[in-house]
Symmetry: C2
Subunit: 224 residues, 2 copies
């Protein structure tokens, strides 16, 4: 979806405009929103579950889950204790701003501090569609291999933070972290990076702190 | 890409027509062609490397590698000993029939028995675009999780065979094979399945036999 032929260009412009409307709506309500993107199975839903469990009590969280067919992810988010809205994309390979707009209509935004948006599992298409969130976060995964920044550059180039999940599998897998990080740095110098394991809990502390600081910085007078 | 609005419908019809042209060209030349699809990092390139190394000498192989940016995969296929053509999709999230047509123009088809086409790493979009190959094969991967058939049904529904890679990681990962297989069977009853490990070589024998039988059955008088 990166070759911008005329029709595609118009679609993207319309999307960007709606994304700006989403953003100002979130800002007005004092909601700090994160767009989580990853290939299938990298651990988006697991990271969301851990985040809900750790931050509930400190912050009011909600989740928007994008999937092409089921509501498994929203069910998991609800089970972990957060308000959750499912977007079933009907086969579409990414979320777009109008889908998020529909989901925002179903949430009581004034009650929410932190909104986690789980995009469709796809390492190509979501990069081209802004949603209006404040941060775009990519979750990489050790078993996916150390060549992914080289093979999927648009996704690595456009994100604001990178989570590297499943670091507990490093002893079982040939993954050259230097090679991976060199690829990341070329595309996105100085990118904020969180090596974690949802399985063991390693590294989650820094991720949670980053989110809490984001919420405070976004809306310092937010007291709900 | 599954919601068939009018414009999309026309694009897909044009694609299907070109796919048929590709198919008859392959048949005329006696080439048996496989479309390999998977999420990023599931092991498409590793499986191709093993297949080239094991079947070279018995069959004449060639590889077409689709990637959104680099030529890493074609380089790996060449290093393993096969003729290889790279398709750089320029950001597009899947191969289509016209891209394969361009690649076929660069190969001496009459000299090839088995053509392996490596699609872009994506568990959504490639399912909607036929290429004209004889078999569509999906590579699943243990670390991607046991819920993938439930979350990406179109891909599982439309394939002719399923490879389950990285089974050497089963002891390190929570993966319920029964749950996974139940999801597969609902979508695609009786699907031919090959549990393998490219790392240890386990299970590759059956995969290679299936390919060889496919080549023989496709063109029994093929003697080149």
């Amino acid at each position: 979806m990166k070759q911008r032929r005329p029709v595609v260009e118009n679609i993207l412009n319309a999307n960007d405009q709606l994304a700006e409307e989403n953003r100002s709506r979130l800002d007005t309500a004092g909601v700090y929103a994160i767009n989580l993107m990853a290939s299938p199975g990298a651990g988006k839903t697991s990271l969301i579950e851990h985040t809900i469990k750790q931050l509930t009590g400190k912050l009011n969280l909600a989740v928007v889950d994008g999937d092409i067919a089921t509501s498994i992810d929203a069910d998991r988010a609800k089970a972990a204790g957060a308000e959750a809205v499912q977007i079933n994309t009907g086969g579409e390979c990414h979320l777009d701003a109008i889908m998020l707009q529909g989901a925002l209509n179903q949430l009581q935004l004034a009650r929410i501090d932190l909104l986690l948006v789980e995009n469709v599992g796809n390492l190509v298409c979501p990069a081209a569609f802004k949603l209006g969130t404040h941060q775009n976060v990519l979750i990489a995964s050790i078993p996916d291999g150390d060549d992914k920044p080289y093979k999927y550059p648009p996704m690595y180039r456009d994100v604001d933070a990178l989570v590297i999940n499943k670091i507990d599998l490093l002893p079982s897998i040939d993954f050259n972290m230097d090679y991976f990080q060199r690829g990341v740095q070329v595309l996105n110098p100085g990118l904020v990076t969180f090596p974690i394991s949802c399985r063991t809990g390693e590294g989650l502390e820094s991720w949670l702190t980053w989110l809490e600081e984001g919420v405070s910085g976004h809306n310092p007078t937010n007291n709900h």
